[in-house]
């Protein structure tokens, strides 16, 4: 838990919000263990021990035998920062509750299954850098028109246009606010490219969104 994290109290992430990923997985959704395609946003938390900042080192995870894990991956998302108490708002009204935007990198073990909450994969210490800052909402005309890119050691690895999200920023705020009342400073990571980027020890990872900023982190363990 980093003292100067930009996150207040909660970081909600949306999985499976990339239309291309949903299409690619569609055939598996009717099989066990899923049995049916998701009808609702697929949500997970990055808890407070994961929160970190721009420039910080991300710990290389250990397995249950205290050995370094073989593989880690990263995804990056637009982070929507809530500006006021948000309870049961409509999609039409939802963007009025946004204080600003930032970037969330989600370092984890490779995503293998979406069946059970991925505590082992997602709850690693320092694995959710957020930053570099919060850009005021009025500086971003349309959050769904942004593009999130990831480069590793200077080489571009992933480009995700938020226009390809299954659900828009406003829809997600509305749906989530009907599950839980959101508080100022809480952040929603609205969507990640379906293909997570493999990373290695010592890699320099840069997540960027034009107009929002550049989030720089380095993997530990080297």
């Amino acid at each position: 838990m980093t003292a100067n994290t930009l996150v207040n109290s909660k970081l909600v992430c949306v999985a499976l919000n990339d239309k291309a990923q949903l299409a690619a997985l569609d055939a598996t959704f009717n099989d066990a263990p899923y049995k049916k395609p998701p009808t609702q946003p697929v949500l997970y938390y990055k808890p407070r021990n994961t929160w970190s900042v721009d420039g910080a080192e991300v710990e290389w995870a250990k397995d249950f035998g205290s050995n370094d894990v073989a593989a880690m991956a990263v995804g990056a998302s637009l982070g929507v920062v809530i500006g006021k108490e948000t309870c049961r708002v409509s999609a039409e009204d939802a963007l009025n509750y946004v204080n600003g935007y930032t970037i969330v990198s989600d370092f984890s073990l490779p995503e293998e299954s979406y069946y059970r909450p991925d505590i082992k994969g997602k709850c690693l210490d320092t694995s959710a850098p957020v930053g570099p800052e919060i850009v005021a909402a009025d500086k971003i005309a349309n959050p769904d028109a942004l593009t999130v890119s990831i480069s590793v050691n200077g080489e571009q690895k992933s480009v995700f246009e938020l226009a390809n999200m299954e659900r828009s920023v406003a829809e997600l705020i509305s749906i989530i606010s009907r599950i839980m009342t959101l508080q100022p400073g809480e952040i929603i990571a609205v969507g990640f490219a379906g293909d997570r980027v493999a990373v290695a020890k010592g890699d320099k990872v840069v997540a960027s969104i034009e107009g929002v900023g550049t989030l720089n982190n380095t993997l530990g363990g080297a």
């Binding site: 205290s66 049961r88 690693l124 210490d125």
Partner: protein, 260 residues
């Protein structure tokens, strides 16, 4: 000793409760009020709530008769403070659902930061125990990160308290009677000895993955015996030697009022 947070006489107070039910505030003031007084408003007992870990499928009380194979590792999910409410407060039933049930659970409250904690030392990291009711709505279950947030992250659906009992006052947390009543009728009658993964095991498991911090909570799952609950029902979850947690169910409209 027991510890709680209350509103009394317009003041929000951290209190200690001794073996004679005498209430003393953090400033040393003795309150002249009974524990069951309506003058006390009970707040969730953890002052600065951190990450709430909850366990699914963690009781084997029917393992023998059902030939059910217990899980090989804990099924853990995460909740946040928006779900918390206190003793004698309300929880809501969403509109248009078929089945919402209580889950009476023993809660271990973390009191010390730690990572890679050994089972043998795990209770040194536990400040105390309390009771929660980890409500679930079966209609909303989907097989993606199940139990999903729509089921388990709703406002008010994790009543907790009324107080935290010091760890030292519970010599064996796995020998406690666990019961739930709905409108006075016994509907759940179990014991914490049927827990599959006990608190030391779960602390070792979680702390291999991540750092645990003071204010984090571990809700340890519920045994067999759940029933649907409707607005107007009063649910009391009790764990022997820890506490009894009373909750009244209301409709979604009554709960959200102007925001409905």
């Amino acid at each position: 000793m027991r510890h709680a947070r209350i509103v009394f006489d317009g003041r929000e107070l951290d209190i200690d409760i001794d073996a004679n039910d005498r209430i003393t505030t953090a400033d040393g003031e003795v309150l002249d009020v009974a524990l069951d007084s309506d003058q006390i408003t009970w707040l969730p007992p953890v002052k600065a709530p951190g990450t709430i870990f909850a366990l699914g499928i963690n009781y084997a009380d029917h393992a023998t008769e059902l030939a059910f194979e217990p899980p090989k590792e804990p099924l853990v999910f995460i909740k946040h403070a928006n779900t918390l409410t206190g003793h004698k407060q309300v929880s809501y039933r969403p509109d248009g659902i078929e089945y919402q049930h209580y889950e009476c659970e023993l809660v271990a409250v973390i009191g010390k930061t730690g990572k890679n904690i050994k089972r043998e030392e795990a209770l040194d990291y536990v400040a105390g125990y309390t009771v929660c009711n980890d409500f679930a709505i079966r209609d909303y279950l989907e097989n993606y990160y199940r139990p999903n947030l729509r089921v388990k992250s709703r406002d008010s659906l994790l009543p907790m308290g009324p107080w935290i009992v010091d760890t030292a006052d519970i010599p064996n947390a796995n020998a406690l009677k666990l019961t739930t009543t709905v409108n006075g009728k016994l509907t759940q009658d179990g014991t914490t000895k049927d827990m599959i993964f006990d608190v030391p095991f779960v602390i070792e498991y979680l702390s291999k993955i991540m750092t645990l911090n003071p204010g984090d909570m571990i809700c340890t799952g519920t045994p067999h015996g759940i029933v649907d609950c409707q607005p107007g029902d009063t649910i009391v979850c009790t764990i022997e030697d820890v506490c009894s947690l009373e909750t009244r169910m209301v409709s979604e409209q009554e709960f959200y009022g102007d925001k409905y």
